[in-house]
């Protein structure tokens, strides 16, 4: 932890960065994002096993960007977010100073996107066995059981859009939900409005989701939203050979094709 604080202090002092996005102590048993702009603030940086959430979404937040040159403490999910955002022209190489805490508490700094790509090649990017089991459990249901299951989940949704706000890939200034000519997605949080919203979001994240799970973590109503996008990861990988957030210059799986893409349902 000291190494991190020392490093960030140095970066701030020598003006390499103007602000550093890291973790700090939060309410009671929580950790939260902090934005160290001074040495004093940097001394509040912590790194504990609870520091698991993906900070990368802040890189595109208007007010955070205005703090100046940013540094960030990135975990694997954040690194993948950065790669994906780079492939969508939202972050440029060298724009952000990226630190990573290794298992032995030492720090890795990434000089460029290429080094992140090399790092990610060896990193564990899979969804957890628990998440996998939950997906399999749903897949094992009948069609109508699945409909019932999701209907029950979506019923709870209050359309607070915490999932969207927490997702690093949901950076559109004008989400489809906000488009009202035509009103593709009903604003109301009734069953239809909720189903439309969540399917739309899952579809828009298909091939872009880097399985950080922030959507589900953010949901105050405890809807397992992450499973919607997670279950598309495997088909996209096996079907199209694409995995999101691995390369800064990747072509999006759904804006390319192979003439021999396999399907078994088109007659």
């Amino acid at each position: 932890m000291n190494e991190l604080i020392n490093k960030v202090t140095k970066l701030l002092n020598d003006k390499t960065i103007d602000a550093f996005i890291g973790y700090g102590q939060g309410s009671t048993d929580r950790v939260r994002a902090i934005f160290a702009r001074t040495v004093e603030q940097a001394s509040k940086l912590i790194y504990t096993p609870a520091c698991t959430f993906n900070l990368s979404g802040y890189l595109l937040k208007h007010e955070v960007k205005h703090l100046g040159k940013l540094g960030i403490l990135a975990n694997v999910a954040a690194l993948r977010s950065i790669m994906q955002l780079a492939s969508e022209f939202q972050i440029k190489d060298g724009e952000v100073y990226i630190l990573f805490v290794n298992d032995d508490a030492s720090l890795t700094e990434f000089s460029d996107f290429q080094s992140i790509e090399a790092f990610l090649e060896k990193a564990n990017i899979d969804i957890t066995p628990d998440e996998k089991a939950r997906i399999e459990k749903i897949e094992a249901m009948s069609v109508s059981e699945r409909w019932e299951f999701w209907n029950k989940e979506f019923e709870k949704c209050i359309k607070c859009y915490a999932c969207r706000a927490a997702c690093p890939m949901c950076y559109c200034h004008r989400c489809t939900t906000d488009v009202n000519q035509p009103q593709w997605i009903p604003v109301a949080s009734h069953e239809r409005g909720n189903l439309d919203y969540h399917l739309m979001r899952a579809m828009h994240l298909a091939g872009r989701c880097i399985n950080c799970g922030e959507c589900a973590n953010a949901c105050p109503m405890d809807i397992p939203l992450n499973l919607l996008t997670y279950q598309l990861i495997d088909p996209i990988k096996t079907g199209f050979g694409a995995t999101a957030g691995m390369k800064a210059d990747a072509v999006y799986a759904l804006s390319t094709f192979k003439p021999d893409d396999k399907e078994n349902f088109i007659i």
Binding site: V143, S144, W147, L195, M200, G207, L232, S255, F257, P259
Partner: protein
């Protein structure tokens, strides 16, 4: 269920399937009147959300059809559409939307008979399956009809 006339919407591309359906007409091949066509320039233009809109507005079945691979008027639109459908179908299936109610097909401008077959088979299948009760419960019309409720 005897009198059930399924409502089926067909989303087709202008160059192949729409022209194929024109040929069905020119050949005077008969098919069921339940299917109504909405014309798109290309299958690549067909947004997945429009399929959801069709179900929400009471469609019991959907046909999506365009040019065979390599035959796209715009050369690659149908390839992109195919990927999108592969993914969307996966998602629909996972969320319990009945993928049996959406038929995807390639019907070329020369396949007037195939179009009649596609329509007739789909109508027969949906007729057998009955109205799409699950989706009808949350359809637009349901909200419009519904009495004022106390608690959502």
């Amino acid at each position: 269920m005897q009198d059930f006339e399924p409502k089926i919407v067909a989303f087709v591309c202008n160059w192949c399937t729409y022209a194929g359906a024109d040929l069905t007409g020119t050949s005077r091949t008969k098919y069921a009147a339940n299917v109504k066509i909405i014309r798109f320039p290309c299958t690549g233009r067909i947004d997945f959300m429009i399929l959801m809109k069709a179900f929400e507005n009471g469609a019991d079945g959907i046909i999506v059809s365009g040019c065979h691979p390599n035959d796209c008027h715009y050369s690659t639109g149908n390839f992109h559409a195919r990927r999108r459908w592969i993914v969307f179908r996966n998602l629909m299936n996972f969320t319990g939307i009945d993928t049996e109610r959406i038929l995807f097909s390639w019907v070329s401008a020369a396949e007037g008979f195939k179009w009649a077959d596609v329509v007739n088979n789909t109508v027969a299948k949906i007729r057998e399956m009955g109205p799409y009760e699950n989706y009808n419960k949350i359809a637009v019309s349901t909200l419009l009809k519904e009495e004022v409720s106390n608690h959502e």
